[in-house]
């Protein structure tokens, strides 16, 4: 069962300077939620709090029923962060300590196949392209079959073609693994193409500016009028800080 997630009054300060919060959110199990916002608005800090890389200054985060095994949470960073001395297969198995050899091999094989790295098991990270390295990092996060996957701008360093391919791939993986996914991005197209729900953070300190469900039909056609309408709404939101609801009627009329 994928995890749901409840964030209550979350705040984070560094050296007396508040960078995040208070944030209150409740994310449903099995959904993809994109958190978007300008650079420095606190979205990565929010994700790092969820991944327990930062301790909140105030507030609580409840994942699932509260008793979470670390291997049930997958984390994909902006950069692949592969261990350079390990092969692709060994990197994918990095979080599988304590598993039997048989179960580990099966999980690694499945994860590498699902990200399209079958046949690259023995390659070292230095032999991989940027896209392949990021897919290997995704395989490492997927191999323990996590119930929650946290993705911190995972495709931002990739070229546009590879990025779009990886986004489609992520949707397939979501269908296959049915994990809850939280995606940090500053790319509106990426958020609209992948997410069931989009949360706009504004800051610092990062606070929720808007929270909406586009409801676009999957797979999302990136040249459809509804896609462009939502993109215009988001652009207007970023440029003028207007609420999504206020923009809705005008834009629907414009799109029609």
């Amino acid at each position: 069962m994928p995890y749901d997630l409840t964030i209550t009054g979350l705040e984070k300060s560094f050296g007396g300077s508040q960078v995040l919060g208070p944030v209150d959110l409740s994310l449903s199990a099995g959904t993809i939620t994109a958190i978007i916002g300008r650079s420095g608005c606190g979205k990565t800090t929010l994700l790092r709090c969820l991944g327990r890389l930062e301790a909140p200054s105030a507030g609580t985060i409840t994942i699932g029923d509260g008793s979470v095994n670390p291997s049930d949470i997958g984390y994909v960073f902006q950069e692949p962060r592969l261990m350079p001395w390990l092969t692709v297969a060994q990197n994918a198995a990095f979080g599988l300590g304590g598993w039997t050899e048989e179960a580990r091999s099966a999980a690694v094989r499945e994860a590498l196949e699902s990200v399209g790295l079958h046949g690259q098991e023995r390659a070292l990270p230095k032999q991989l392209s940027g896209g392949m390295a990021q897919r290997a990092a995704l395989a490492r996060a997927l191999a323990p079959r996590p119930k929650l996957i946290l993705l911190d701008e995972p495709f931002s360093a990739l070229d546009p073609f590879t990025r779009e391919q990886m986004q489609d791939h992520l949707l397939q993986l979501h269908r296959h693994y049915n994990s809850t996914m939280v995606l940090i991005t500053h790319d509106m197209d990426e958020a609209l193409a992948l997410a069931d729900r989009i949360i706009v953070l504004h800051g610092p300190p990062g606070r929720v500016l808007a929270d909406f469900t586009p409801g676009l039909a999957r797979p999302v056609a990136r040249i459809s009028s509804s896609f462009f309408t939502w993109k215009r709404r988001l652009t207007a939101l970023f440029s003028g800080h207007r609420g999504v609801e206020a923009l809705g009627d005008d834009d629907d009329a414009a799109a029609a």
Partner: protein, 256 residues
């Protein structure tokens, strides 16, 4: 324009060959008395005689055994303490100031104490070599662990690795390049310290030949021992460097 081929290992012999020829010419021309600077031909003949009589093999075995034991003991202690201080801030706070203070003691100043404690035979010499090997290995390992990329350590943290597992799976492998440099520096100092130990009192070994040559006024024996020291040091360093290159073959660097 044709590019010149890259110089191979033979290029490293060019300057020594020119120096040897110059040395021979200077002595043959009578510019320096042979009693002060024996010609290379005489040194070579001395080396041949030492090899034939078995003196060379005996000296190499004695010095080699001291270096080997000293290196194993010094490097083992340094690895243990360097790993401990690298992994645990508490152990580092307790042990590192003492180790750094001991490092400031001139190496030869240990000799009287080692002779008093361990006698004039093998134990004191091996201990002196071990002291020489210890510090470069300890310092390089400690700095290698301390400088491990925070981003790699975060991968271990999101996977829920405890400190000991982060040390074994991330910090020690990542510190391997620095560790190899420490081993090579340690071995170099080990050769320096074995010469000092043998000069201060030994009845066998290359240092003994140095001392004997000086006492009996035979500089060709001193030169022969110096050449053997140089060759052995270079040979053992080549073996260690070659093994080290294999260990860190995963590094994404260009070897020039």
């Amino acid at each position: 324009m044709r590019k010149l081929p890259a110089p191979g290992w033979l290029a490293g012999l060019l300057i020594p060959a020119i120096l040897l020829a110059f040395w021979q010419a200077v002595v043959m021309a009578g510019l320096v008395p042979a009693a002060i600077l024996p010609p290379p031909s005489l040194v070579l003949a001395t080396l041949g005689a030492m090899a034939q009589s078995g003196e060379m093999a005996q000296a190499l075995a004695a010095t080699g055994s001291r270096i080997a034991w000293g290196f194993v003991l010094g490097a083992s202690a340094a690895t243990l303490l360097g790993g401990l201080c690298g992994a645990s801030p508490r152990a580092r706070a307790l042990l590192d100031p003492l180790i750094q203070a001991l490092r400031s003691v001139p190496s030869l100043a240990w000799v009287p104490l080692f002779i008093l404690w361990l006698g004039i035979f093998e134990a004191s010499k091996i201990t002196l070599v071990a002291v020489g090997v210890f510090f470069p290995v300890y310092l390089n390992l400690l700095s290698g662990i301390a400088n491990v990329d925070r981003k790699l350590l975060e991968v271990g943290r999101v996977l829920g690795f405890p400190a000991w597992r982060r040390l074994l799976r991330i910090q020690l492998p990542a510190a391997l390049p620095a560790y190899v440099v420490g081993l090579r520096s340690g071995l170099g100092l080990g050769w320096m310290f074995v010469a000092a130990a043998e000069l201060l009192g030994a009845s066998s070994g290359l240092g003994f030949i140095l001392d004997d040559g000086e006492q009996t006024g035979r500089p060709e024996r001193v030169m022969a021992a110096l050449i053997l020291f140089g060759l052995c040091g270079k040979l053992t360093d080549m073996v260690l460097a070659s093994a080290g290159r294999r260990l860190v073959a995963w590094q994404d660097i260009e070897i020039r």
